[in-house]
Subunit: 340 residues, 2 copies
């Protein structure tokens, strides 16, 4: 089993009110570079920022890292348009940072990035199953853009407790206009949908998934609505094979995202894992329980690998709390290790 983490950026993230992935807009471009370092090394290494939400909720990368440490899970980071340096080792798909989806073409080189991703996906050893995750701030908005352009259910989640879905829909409407598209106007043409409304992570990720499916490498989509937008791209590319999504209970509980209905409409099996954070009294776990972050950076997929035994998940929780304290030393808990 290997976590393939596709990371990149889109100017869409800088639109006011869109993303919580990064405490301030000028730092948000660093988030995926830092997330990759946290998953690979356990902490930001060369990146000058530690991704936290405006209220201090640590990035889902910290949860994924806890599982990586617990299970010695190998990780491969794909650079699908990073805008800032990372010291994490990366596989290149020759992608550039994505543009604002309100422009005519958000991902001008979507076709090339898809093909580079596909070549990588085809090359992966077929006897080693992959979890495909993402880190791209603003990614739920580009996911909404792609779902809308394809004519699928236009519902996505958010890294904010109150999903600014109306704001996202207005942005998407503007993007469709700028691209000369209507809702459903790119049905059956996934490359056109990503080119006009998506981000380079969706282009690369859809290509990797397509390539892995072509050679028979077992694949699990590890994430939420962004991975469902990726599944929609595969369906519109003619992929009829079974697809499965491993996500978090936090995301499945987000009524605004209506994940189960979207997955059902795309014929994607969903498995949600509850990390049991309500058993821990710590600002980091409390933030997740309060509805922040919810999913991302492969979190749900990583958690799905943890054995059902409560002792295993308790160990992941303990590691997560330790990592969260390391990432955010200004907010130590009084008693960080209270687990049931």
């Amino acid at each position: 089993m290997r976590l393939v983490l596709v990371t990149g950026t889109t100017r869409t993230a800088t639109i006011d009110g869109i993303s919580a992935a990064g405490a301030s807009p000028d730092l948000v471009a660093h988030t995926p570079s830092s997330d990759a370092e946290i998953v690979v090394y356990g902490e930001p290494v060369a990146s000058p920022v530690t991704p936290v939400s405006p209220t201090g909720c640590p990035t889902p990368a910290a949860v994924t890292r806890a599982v990586v440490e617990r299970l010695d899970l190998p990780v491969t980071v794909v650079d699908a348009g990073l805008a800032e340096p990372t010291a994490a080792p990366t596989v290149s798909v020759d992608a550039s940072p994505g543009g604002d989806l309100r422009s005519a073409a958000a991902v001008p080189d979507a076709a090339d990035v898809f093909e580079a991703g596909r070549a990588y996906g085809r090359a992966l050893p077929t006897d080693d199953p992959i979890l495909l995750g993402e880190s791209v701030p603003g990614g739920t908005t580009t996911a909404l853009g792609v779902l809308t352009a394809l004519g699928e259910r236009a519902t996505v989640s958010s890294s904010l407790p109150d999903n600014p879905l109306e704001r996202k829909r207005a942005v998407v409407a503007e993007g469709l206009d700028a691209s000369g598209l209507t809702a459903g106007g790119a049905a059956g043409d996934p490359t056109a949908a990503v080119r006009a409304m998506g981000d380079p992570v969706l282009a690369a990720g859809a290509g990797i998934a397509r390539g892995a499916l072509e050679t028979g490498t077992p694949l699990t989509l590890a994430g939420g609505t962004q991975l469902l937008a990726l599944a929609a791209l595969l369906r519109h590319d003619g992929v009829e094979s079974p697809l499965s999504l491993a996500t978090t209970s936090f995301l499945l509980d987000d009524e605004s995202a209506a994940v189960a209905a979207l997955a059902d409409s795309l014929d994607v099996d969903v498995r949600a894992t509850d990390p049991g954070f309500d058993a821990v009294d710590h600002p980091a776990t409390d933030a997740y329980c309060a509805g922040e972050a919810k999913e991302g950076v492969g979190m749900g997929g990583a958690l799905s690998l943890v054995a059902d035994a409560d002792a295993d998940m308790a160990s992941v929780r303990e590691r997560f709390v330790a990592i969260a304290d390391r990432l955010n030393p200004s907010q130590p808990a009084d008693d960080p290790a209270v687990t049931r």
Copy 2:
């Protein structure tokens, strides 16, 4: 513990009679890209070649991979001048492939590559010890060049059973001439030594080691005479702290390399691990016992992590044989799993 594998190329490898790292000279540029994929994925992935010696001895990457699988050892590949694509995730130090050491400057950007490596070495988490290994065909010749320029003992090993040391010394003499240097002429100036006579892997690796030592990250040099040349660069850079080398028994047994004497002169502790390949009757293990390959791609460092218990090393041997068969399916053994 993390294996940091510094990979790159030098035109020095294309000099006739220098290297066994790759069955034919036109394929040798692919060797480090393929080695990286074998260590990360267990087989060449995007690379079109499988590195074997002219007689079919599999690359030491296969041994390192066996340990990576057995111990779930994390690996970070550094691209220090790869000439061919790799699907292994890589950290960049902005290095270009190295030139022929018989030119005036083999590594024109040695100072920049050293500094980029140093920044990466400084950034690594200090609580996670690193093994520093290399893959660069022709690397023992550039190591000899650097040792000579620094005025250290001019002895190195070879990936060939009969070390073409006189050939290497003639090449080095030509390189010194072309650079306007004499033996020992770059003493105390490691950058000048690498620039004139080295390769980009030595520049990046010395930088990474220097950076790790500066921040107190525990460091083990994982390899043979190339890593001792790197140690010489550190000594000439003023590093006085203890240095240790983890290598293979094959290398220590190579009298032509005189590894123990070279290590002693550089005040480097040496630990050699014997993988017990004489217990296995298989073309791959036989080739190592016959003196091919010996070391490289972090092999000795990886083996040093295997517990002394014979059962653990037997398990590594079994994995190595399975990997060797996968890499070289045309040469299956009659009985590949005979271990004592």
